[in-house]
Protein backbone atom coordinates (compact mmCIF):
# COMPACT_ATOMS: atom_id res chain seq x y z
CA UNK A 1 0.00 0.00 0.00
CA UNK A 2 1.26 3.47 -0.82
CA UNK A 3 1.31 5.72 2.19
CA UNK A 4 1.35 9.51 1.77
CA UNK A 5 2.91 11.34 4.68
CA UNK A 6 0.79 14.45 4.43
CA UNK A 7 2.92 16.33 6.91
CA UNK A 8 5.95 15.88 4.64
CA UNK A 9 4.31 16.22 1.21
CA UNK A 10 4.65 19.67 -0.34
CA UNK A 11 2.02 18.92 -3.05
CA UNK A 12 4.36 19.63 -5.95
CA UNK A 13 3.17 17.00 -8.44
CA UNK A 14 6.60 15.59 -9.21
CA UNK A 15 5.42 12.06 -8.33
CA UNK A 16 2.30 12.38 -10.49
CA UNK A 17 4.42 12.80 -13.63
CA UNK A 18 6.32 9.52 -13.21
CA UNK A 19 3.56 7.13 -12.14
CA UNK A 20 3.24 4.62 -15.00
CA UNK A 21 -0.31 3.73 -13.94
CA UNK A 22 -1.62 7.27 -13.68
CA UNK A 23 -2.67 6.34 -10.16
CA UNK A 24 -1.76 9.64 -8.51
CA UNK A 25 -3.53 12.94 -8.80
CA UNK A 26 -2.73 16.25 -7.22
CA UNK A 27 -6.01 17.83 -6.18
CA UNK A 28 -4.73 21.29 -5.31
CA UNK A 29 -3.11 20.69 -1.93
CA UNK A 30 -3.59 16.99 -1.44
CA UNK A 31 -2.42 13.94 -3.25
CA UNK A 32 -4.89 11.17 -4.06
CA UNK A 33 -3.89 7.56 -4.73
CA UNK A 34 -6.21 5.50 -6.92
CA UNK A 35 -6.91 1.80 -6.56
CA UNK A 36 -4.89 0.94 -9.65
CA UNK A 37 -1.62 1.68 -7.82
CA UNK A 38 0.64 -1.35 -8.17
CA UNK A 39 2.97 -0.42 -5.28
CA UNK A 40 5.87 -0.24 -7.74
CA UNK A 41 7.59 2.42 -5.61
CA UNK A 42 8.71 4.67 -8.46
CA UNK A 43 6.96 7.70 -6.98
CA UNK A 44 8.47 6.99 -3.55
CA UNK A 45 11.93 6.93 -5.07
CA UNK A 46 11.73 10.28 -6.83
CA UNK A 47 9.81 12.35 -4.26
CA UNK A 48 12.22 15.19 -3.42
CA UNK A 49 11.06 15.17 0.20
CA UNK A 50 10.51 11.50 0.93
CA UNK A 51 6.79 11.86 1.56
CA UNK A 52 5.80 8.55 -0.04
CA UNK A 53 6.35 5.08 1.26
CA UNK A 54 5.25 1.67 0.03
CA UNK A 55 4.34 -0.29 3.13
CA UNK A 56 3.77 -4.00 3.48
CA UNK A 57 0.07 -4.47 4.17
CA UNK A 58 0.68 -7.61 6.15
CA UNK A 59 2.60 -5.59 8.68
CA UNK A 60 -0.03 -2.90 9.08
Amino acid sequence: MLNVHRDICGYCGCCVSVCPEGALELIDAYLSVEKNCTNCGICAKICPLGALEVIDEKQV
Binding site: C14, S17, C19, E25, K45, I46, C47, P48
Partner: protein, 398 residues
Protein backbone atom coordinates in the same frame (compact mmCIF):
# COMPACT_ATOMS: atom_id res chain seq x y z
CA UNK B 1 -18.70 29.93 -16.28
CA UNK B 2 -20.83 29.15 -19.30
CA UNK B 3 -21.62 25.66 -20.54
CA UNK B 4 -20.00 26.10 -23.93
CA UNK B 5 -16.86 27.81 -25.22
CA UNK B 6 -14.82 27.71 -28.39
CA UNK B 7 -11.71 26.95 -26.38
CA UNK B 8 -11.41 25.46 -22.89
CA UNK B 9 -7.96 25.85 -21.34
CA UNK B 10 -6.98 23.61 -18.45
CA UNK B 11 -4.43 25.24 -16.17
CA UNK B 12 -3.65 28.87 -15.39
CA UNK B 13 0.16 28.77 -15.66
CA UNK B 14 2.11 30.58 -18.39
CA UNK B 15 1.00 28.09 -21.07
CA UNK B 16 -2.67 28.33 -20.15
CA UNK B 17 -2.59 32.11 -19.77
CA UNK B 18 -1.08 32.64 -23.21
CA UNK B 19 -3.50 30.13 -24.73
CA UNK B 20 -6.50 31.89 -23.17
CA UNK B 21 -5.27 35.36 -24.07
CA UNK B 22 -4.47 34.44 -27.67
CA UNK B 23 -7.78 32.64 -28.18
CA UNK B 24 -9.67 35.68 -26.90
CA UNK B 25 -7.64 38.02 -29.10
CA UNK B 26 -8.54 35.87 -32.10
CA UNK B 27 -12.19 36.49 -31.31
CA UNK B 28 -12.91 33.09 -29.78
CA UNK B 29 -14.78 32.54 -26.55
CA UNK B 30 -12.39 31.02 -24.02
CA UNK B 31 -12.38 29.78 -20.45
CA UNK B 32 -9.31 29.07 -18.32
CA UNK B 33 -9.92 26.69 -15.41
CA UNK B 34 -7.34 26.59 -12.63
CA UNK B 35 -7.64 24.11 -9.78
CA UNK B 36 -5.68 26.20 -7.30
CA UNK B 37 -7.39 28.97 -5.37
CA UNK B 38 -4.74 31.49 -6.42
CA UNK B 39 -2.90 31.89 -9.72
CA UNK B 40 0.87 31.64 -9.36
CA UNK B 41 0.94 30.28 -5.82
CA UNK B 42 2.60 28.24 -4.57
CA UNK B 43 5.56 28.97 -6.87
CA UNK B 44 7.25 25.93 -8.41
CA UNK B 45 10.12 27.66 -10.13
CA UNK B 46 13.58 29.24 -9.88
CA UNK B 47 12.11 32.13 -11.90
CA UNK B 48 14.99 32.66 -14.31
CA UNK B 49 14.09 33.89 -17.79
CA UNK B 50 16.20 35.31 -20.63
CA UNK B 51 15.63 38.93 -21.52
CA UNK B 52 14.83 38.38 -25.17
CA UNK B 53 12.60 35.46 -24.31
CA UNK B 54 10.53 37.65 -22.02
CA UNK B 55 10.36 40.60 -24.42
CA UNK B 56 8.85 38.36 -27.07
CA UNK B 57 5.71 38.12 -24.96
CA UNK B 58 5.43 41.04 -22.60
CA UNK B 59 7.17 44.29 -21.70
CA UNK B 60 9.18 44.04 -18.49
CA UNK B 61 7.52 45.51 -15.45
CA UNK B 62 9.25 46.13 -12.11
CA UNK B 63 6.19 44.76 -10.31
CA UNK B 64 7.11 41.23 -11.28
CA UNK B 65 10.84 41.46 -11.90
CA UNK B 66 12.73 40.65 -8.71
CA UNK B 67 16.20 41.22 -10.13
CA UNK B 68 18.12 41.75 -13.34
CA UNK B 69 21.09 39.53 -14.09
CA UNK B 70 24.23 40.78 -15.77
CA UNK B 71 26.40 37.71 -15.37
CA UNK B 72 26.55 34.03 -14.58
CA UNK B 73 29.04 31.85 -12.74
CA UNK B 74 29.55 28.16 -13.23
CA UNK B 75 31.23 26.27 -10.42
CA UNK B 76 33.03 23.10 -11.51
CA UNK B 77 33.06 19.99 -9.30
CA UNK B 78 36.61 20.90 -8.18
CA UNK B 79 35.42 24.32 -7.01
CA UNK B 80 36.85 26.27 -9.95
CA UNK B 81 34.61 29.24 -10.85
CA UNK B 82 34.01 30.21 -14.44
CA UNK B 83 32.66 33.74 -14.54
CA UNK B 84 30.70 35.00 -17.47
CA UNK B 85 30.58 38.74 -17.02
CA UNK B 86 28.28 41.25 -18.62
CA UNK B 87 30.92 42.15 -21.21
CA UNK B 88 30.53 38.60 -22.46
CA UNK B 89 26.86 38.34 -22.01
CA UNK B 90 26.17 41.91 -23.15
CA UNK B 91 22.65 42.92 -22.48
CA UNK B 92 21.55 39.42 -23.22
CA UNK B 93 21.36 37.96 -19.80
CA UNK B 94 18.11 37.85 -18.00
CA UNK B 95 15.68 38.34 -15.21
CA UNK B 96 14.73 36.58 -12.04
CA UNK B 97 10.99 37.01 -11.95
CA UNK B 98 8.48 37.10 -9.15
CA UNK B 99 6.22 34.43 -10.53
CA UNK B 100 3.42 34.92 -8.05
CA UNK B 101 2.88 38.31 -9.64
CA UNK B 102 4.05 37.39 -13.13
CA UNK B 103 1.65 34.46 -13.55
CA UNK B 104 -1.15 36.60 -12.18
CA UNK B 105 -0.32 39.34 -14.68
CA UNK B 106 -0.43 36.87 -17.58
CA UNK B 107 -3.84 35.59 -16.52
CA UNK B 108 -5.05 39.13 -15.95
CA UNK B 109 -4.01 39.91 -19.54
CA UNK B 110 -6.05 36.92 -20.70
CA UNK B 111 -9.03 38.19 -18.73
CA UNK B 112 -8.55 41.66 -20.18
CA UNK B 113 -8.52 40.19 -23.68
CA UNK B 114 -11.93 38.67 -22.93
CA UNK B 115 -11.26 35.17 -21.62
CA UNK B 116 -13.31 33.86 -18.69
CA UNK B 117 -11.33 32.63 -15.69
CA UNK B 118 -12.41 30.14 -13.03
CA UNK B 119 -10.13 29.45 -10.06
CA UNK B 120 -10.46 26.63 -7.57
CA UNK B 121 -12.07 24.83 -10.49
CA UNK B 122 -10.61 21.51 -11.48
CA UNK B 123 -11.04 19.55 -14.67
CA UNK B 124 -11.79 16.04 -13.40
CA UNK B 125 -12.46 14.18 -16.66
CA UNK B 126 -12.79 14.83 -20.37
CA UNK B 127 -16.11 14.77 -22.20
CA UNK B 128 -15.55 12.29 -25.01
CA UNK B 129 -17.69 11.57 -28.07
CA UNK B 130 -16.64 8.97 -30.66
CA UNK B 131 -13.08 9.16 -29.43
CA UNK B 132 -12.92 12.95 -29.74
CA UNK B 133 -12.52 15.39 -26.85
CA UNK B 134 -15.55 17.66 -26.56
CA UNK B 135 -14.93 19.46 -23.30
CA UNK B 136 -14.39 18.65 -19.68
CA UNK B 137 -16.18 18.03 -16.43
CA UNK B 138 -15.29 20.78 -13.99
CA UNK B 139 -15.51 20.47 -10.20
CA UNK B 140 -15.80 23.72 -8.29
CA UNK B 141 -16.91 24.53 -4.78
CA UNK B 142 -18.69 21.21 -4.33
CA UNK B 143 -20.48 21.55 -7.67
CA UNK B 144 -19.95 19.88 -11.02
CA UNK B 145 -20.41 21.38 -14.45
CA UNK B 146 -19.91 19.99 -17.93
CA UNK B 147 -18.22 22.55 -20.13
CA UNK B 148 -18.26 21.81 -23.83
CA UNK B 149 -15.66 23.20 -26.19
CA UNK B 150 -14.58 22.91 -29.81
CA UNK B 151 -10.99 22.53 -28.65
CA UNK B 152 -9.56 21.74 -25.23
CA UNK B 153 -6.01 22.95 -24.56
CA UNK B 154 -4.41 20.91 -21.79
CA UNK B 155 -1.89 23.24 -20.11
CA UNK B 156 -1.99 21.43 -16.80
CA UNK B 157 1.71 21.42 -16.01
CA UNK B 158 4.12 18.77 -14.82
CA UNK B 159 1.34 17.01 -12.85
CA UNK B 160 -0.79 16.88 -16.00
CA UNK B 161 -3.54 14.26 -15.97
CA UNK B 162 -5.96 15.53 -18.58
CA UNK B 163 -4.27 14.22 -21.71
CA UNK B 164 -3.69 10.89 -19.99
CA UNK B 165 -7.43 10.66 -19.37
CA UNK B 166 -7.84 11.27 -23.11
CA UNK B 167 -5.54 8.34 -23.89
CA UNK B 168 -2.14 10.04 -24.33
CA UNK B 169 0.70 8.51 -22.31
CA UNK B 170 2.50 11.35 -20.54
CA UNK B 171 4.64 9.31 -18.11
CA UNK B 172 8.05 10.88 -17.55
CA UNK B 173 10.86 8.27 -17.34
CA UNK B 174 12.33 8.08 -13.83
CA UNK B 175 15.78 9.08 -14.99
CA UNK B 176 14.35 12.12 -16.76
CA UNK B 177 12.46 13.76 -13.94
CA UNK B 178 14.47 16.37 -12.12
CA UNK B 179 13.51 15.86 -8.51
CA UNK B 180 13.81 19.38 -7.12
CA UNK B 181 13.74 21.45 -3.97
CA UNK B 182 14.29 25.15 -3.55
CA UNK B 183 14.53 27.50 -0.61
CA UNK B 184 13.99 31.22 -0.93
CA UNK B 185 16.77 32.33 1.38
CA UNK B 186 17.18 35.73 2.99
CA UNK B 187 20.20 37.28 4.64
CA UNK B 188 22.85 35.49 2.62
CA UNK B 189 26.08 36.70 1.03
CA UNK B 190 25.65 36.68 -2.74
CA UNK B 191 26.45 38.67 -5.84
CA UNK B 192 23.02 40.11 -6.43
CA UNK B 193 23.50 40.45 -10.20
CA UNK B 194 24.82 37.05 -11.08
CA UNK B 195 23.28 33.59 -11.19
CA UNK B 196 25.46 30.74 -9.95
CA UNK B 197 25.31 27.12 -11.13
CA UNK B 198 27.08 24.30 -9.27
CA UNK B 199 27.84 21.14 -11.17
CA UNK B 200 29.11 17.75 -10.12
CA UNK B 201 28.04 14.34 -8.97
CA UNK B 202 28.71 15.16 -5.32
CA UNK B 203 26.70 18.40 -5.42
CA UNK B 204 23.84 17.49 -7.74
CA UNK B 205 24.01 14.13 -9.55
CA UNK B 206 22.86 14.44 -13.15
CA UNK B 207 21.47 17.87 -12.45
CA UNK B 208 22.66 21.11 -10.96
CA UNK B 209 22.33 23.35 -7.99
CA UNK B 210 21.44 27.00 -8.48
CA UNK B 211 21.57 30.34 -6.69
CA UNK B 212 19.34 32.85 -8.47
CA UNK B 213 19.39 36.26 -6.74
CA UNK B 214 16.08 37.97 -6.09
CA UNK B 215 17.63 41.11 -4.66
CA UNK B 216 20.19 42.17 -2.10
CA UNK B 217 21.06 39.22 0.14
CA UNK B 218 18.10 37.16 -1.01
CA UNK B 219 18.01 34.34 -3.56
CA UNK B 220 16.31 31.21 -4.83
CA UNK B 221 18.65 28.46 -3.72
CA UNK B 222 17.62 25.18 -5.26
CA UNK B 223 18.60 21.87 -6.74
CA UNK B 224 17.42 19.34 -9.27
CA UNK B 225 18.78 15.79 -9.37
CA UNK B 226 17.86 12.92 -11.65
CA UNK B 227 15.04 10.74 -10.31
CA UNK B 228 17.39 7.83 -10.93
CA UNK B 229 19.78 9.20 -8.31
CA UNK B 230 17.08 9.94 -5.78
CA UNK B 231 16.22 7.68 -2.85
CA UNK B 232 16.05 7.42 0.89
CA UNK B 233 18.88 9.42 2.47
CA UNK B 234 19.97 10.96 -0.84
CA UNK B 235 17.04 12.97 -2.02
CA UNK B 236 17.11 16.46 -3.54
CA UNK B 237 16.38 17.89 -0.10
CA UNK B 238 19.32 16.01 1.45
CA UNK B 239 21.71 17.46 -1.13
CA UNK B 240 20.33 20.97 -0.75
CA UNK B 241 20.45 20.87 3.04
CA UNK B 242 24.09 19.79 2.89
CA UNK B 243 24.94 22.65 0.53
CA UNK B 244 23.07 25.24 2.56
CA UNK B 245 24.67 24.12 5.80
CA UNK B 246 28.09 24.58 4.25
CA UNK B 247 27.52 27.74 2.23
CA UNK B 248 24.71 29.69 3.88
CA UNK B 249 24.66 28.43 7.48
CA UNK B 250 23.10 31.66 8.77
CA UNK B 251 20.62 32.14 5.94
CA UNK B 252 16.92 32.23 6.69
CA UNK B 253 14.54 30.21 4.59
CA UNK B 254 11.38 32.18 3.95
CA UNK B 255 9.81 29.83 1.42
CA UNK B 256 10.06 26.08 0.84
CA UNK B 257 9.45 24.78 -2.66
CA UNK B 258 9.53 21.15 -3.82
CA UNK B 259 8.95 20.41 -7.50
CA UNK B 260 9.51 18.29 -10.56
CA UNK B 261 10.92 19.26 -13.94
CA UNK B 262 10.79 16.91 -16.92
CA UNK B 263 13.96 16.75 -19.01
CA UNK B 264 12.77 14.02 -21.36
CA UNK B 265 11.93 14.42 -25.03
CA UNK B 266 8.56 16.08 -25.67
CA UNK B 267 5.46 13.90 -26.09
CA UNK B 268 5.47 11.96 -29.36
CA UNK B 269 2.32 13.75 -30.38
CA UNK B 270 0.83 16.84 -28.77
CA UNK B 271 -2.63 16.76 -30.38
CA UNK B 272 -5.63 14.45 -30.59
CA UNK B 273 -9.16 14.94 -31.92
CA UNK B 274 -10.35 18.12 -30.18
CA UNK B 275 -7.29 18.25 -27.91
CA UNK B 276 -4.01 20.19 -27.87
CA UNK B 277 -1.31 19.86 -25.20
CA UNK B 278 0.94 22.80 -24.26
CA UNK B 279 3.71 23.70 -21.83
CA UNK B 280 5.03 21.30 -19.21
CA UNK B 281 2.08 19.00 -19.90
CA UNK B 282 3.56 18.46 -23.39
CA UNK B 283 6.99 17.93 -21.78
CA UNK B 284 8.55 20.77 -23.74
CA UNK B 285 10.91 21.96 -21.00
CA UNK B 286 14.46 22.62 -22.23
CA UNK B 287 16.18 19.36 -21.23
CA UNK B 288 19.55 21.02 -20.65
CA UNK B 289 18.55 24.00 -18.54
CA UNK B 290 15.23 22.83 -17.11
CA UNK B 291 13.76 26.15 -18.22
CA UNK B 292 10.14 25.92 -19.24
CA UNK B 293 8.53 29.34 -18.85
CA UNK B 294 9.30 30.51 -22.38
CA UNK B 295 8.45 27.18 -23.96
CA UNK B 296 5.15 27.13 -22.08
CA UNK B 297 4.22 30.61 -23.30
CA UNK B 298 5.33 29.79 -26.83
CA UNK B 299 3.36 26.57 -27.12
CA UNK B 300 0.33 28.05 -25.34
CA UNK B 301 0.14 30.92 -27.80
CA UNK B 302 0.77 28.73 -30.84
CA UNK B 303 -1.87 26.21 -29.74
CA UNK B 304 -4.52 28.93 -29.57
CA UNK B 305 -3.45 30.38 -32.93
CA UNK B 306 -3.84 27.02 -34.63
CA UNK B 307 -7.08 26.33 -32.74
CA UNK B 308 -8.50 29.60 -34.09
CA UNK B 309 -7.72 28.63 -37.69
CA UNK B 310 -9.10 25.11 -37.27
CA UNK B 311 -12.27 26.23 -35.53
CA UNK B 312 -12.73 28.80 -38.31
CA UNK B 313 -12.57 26.01 -40.87
CA UNK B 314 -14.86 23.78 -38.83
CA UNK B 315 -12.28 21.00 -38.56
CA UNK B 316 -10.74 20.24 -35.16
CA UNK B 317 -9.67 16.71 -35.98
CA UNK B 318 -6.27 15.47 -34.94
CA UNK B 319 -5.16 15.77 -38.56
CA UNK B 320 -6.11 19.45 -38.71
CA UNK B 321 -4.62 20.27 -35.30
CA UNK B 322 -1.34 18.58 -36.30
CA UNK B 323 -0.24 21.95 -37.72
CA UNK B 324 0.45 22.96 -34.10
CA UNK B 325 2.59 19.89 -33.46
CA UNK B 326 4.57 20.37 -36.65
CA UNK B 327 5.05 24.10 -36.15
CA UNK B 328 6.48 23.98 -32.66
CA UNK B 329 8.79 21.10 -33.56
CA UNK B 330 10.11 23.06 -36.53
CA UNK B 331 10.46 26.28 -34.54
CA UNK B 332 13.67 27.56 -33.03
CA UNK B 333 12.31 26.39 -29.68
CA UNK B 334 11.62 22.86 -30.96
CA UNK B 335 15.06 22.61 -32.51
CA UNK B 336 16.71 23.88 -29.34
CA UNK B 337 14.92 21.18 -27.33
CA UNK B 338 16.19 18.49 -29.67
CA UNK B 339 19.75 19.84 -29.68
CA UNK B 340 19.88 20.43 -25.94
CA UNK B 341 18.51 16.97 -25.29
CA UNK B 342 21.64 15.52 -26.92
CA UNK B 343 23.92 17.86 -24.99
CA UNK B 344 22.23 16.90 -21.73
CA UNK B 345 22.53 13.21 -22.53
CA UNK B 346 26.24 13.73 -23.17
CA UNK B 347 26.91 15.81 -20.07
CA UNK B 348 25.12 13.59 -17.56
CA UNK B 349 27.33 10.69 -18.56
CA UNK B 350 30.56 12.56 -17.76
CA UNK B 351 32.50 11.93 -14.56
CA UNK B 352 33.46 14.95 -12.46
CA UNK B 353 36.99 14.89 -13.88
CA UNK B 354 35.62 15.45 -17.38
CA UNK B 355 33.28 18.20 -16.21
CA UNK B 356 36.25 19.93 -14.59
CA UNK B 357 38.19 19.65 -17.83
CA UNK B 358 35.37 21.10 -19.89
CA UNK B 359 34.71 24.04 -17.56
CA UNK B 360 38.43 24.86 -17.25
CA UNK B 361 38.87 24.90 -20.99
CA UNK B 362 35.75 26.92 -21.67
CA UNK B 363 36.89 29.56 -19.18
CA UNK B 364 39.95 30.18 -21.32
CA UNK B 365 38.04 31.16 -24.38
CA UNK B 366 36.52 34.40 -25.41
CA UNK B 367 33.02 34.36 -26.63
CA UNK B 368 31.56 37.41 -28.22
CA UNK B 369 28.14 36.53 -27.04
CA UNK B 370 27.16 33.95 -24.47
CA UNK B 371 24.61 31.52 -25.80
CA UNK B 372 24.25 27.77 -25.33
CA UNK B 373 25.09 27.32 -28.98
CA UNK B 374 28.32 29.35 -28.73
CA UNK B 375 29.24 27.55 -25.56
CA UNK B 376 28.92 24.18 -27.24
CA UNK B 377 30.82 25.33 -30.30
CA UNK B 378 33.62 26.50 -28.05
CA UNK B 379 33.64 23.31 -26.02
CA UNK B 380 34.04 21.38 -29.23
CA UNK B 381 36.75 23.72 -30.52
CA UNK B 382 38.75 23.30 -27.33
CA UNK B 383 38.09 19.57 -27.05
CA UNK B 384 38.22 18.30 -30.63
CA UNK B 385 37.84 14.78 -29.30
CA UNK B 386 34.32 15.73 -28.33
CA UNK B 387 33.34 15.84 -31.95
CA UNK B 388 33.57 12.10 -31.99
CA UNK B 389 31.85 11.72 -28.67
CA UNK B 390 29.02 14.01 -29.56
CA UNK B 391 28.63 12.51 -32.98
CA UNK B 392 25.58 13.68 -34.83
CA UNK B 393 25.08 16.61 -32.55
CA UNK B 394 28.42 18.15 -33.40
CA UNK B 395 27.74 17.75 -37.08
CA UNK B 396 24.47 19.59 -36.75
CA UNK B 397 26.22 22.59 -35.23
CA UNK B 398 28.74 23.20 -37.98
Amino acid sequence: MKSKYDVLVIGGGPAGALAGKTAAEKGLSALIVEKRPAIGAPVRCAEGLGKEALHEFIDPDPRWISAEMTGATMVAPDGFCMKLGSQLAGSKVGYVLDRKIFDRELVWKAAEAGADIAVKSRASSPLMENGAVKGARIEYGGKTADVRAEVVIAADGVESKFSRWCGVDTTVPVREIMSSVQYVMADIDIDEHSTVFYLGNEVAPEGYLWVFPKGKRIANVGIGISGKKSGRGHRAKDYLDRFVKKNFPDGKTIEFIPGGVSVCRPLNCTVADGLMIAGDAARVVDPLTGGGIYNAMYTGRLAAEVAAVCIGKGDVSKKALMTYDRNWRESKMGKAIERNYHIKEYLIKQPDSKLNEIIHSVSNIHMKEFTTMNLIKEIIRVNPKLVLELGALAASLR
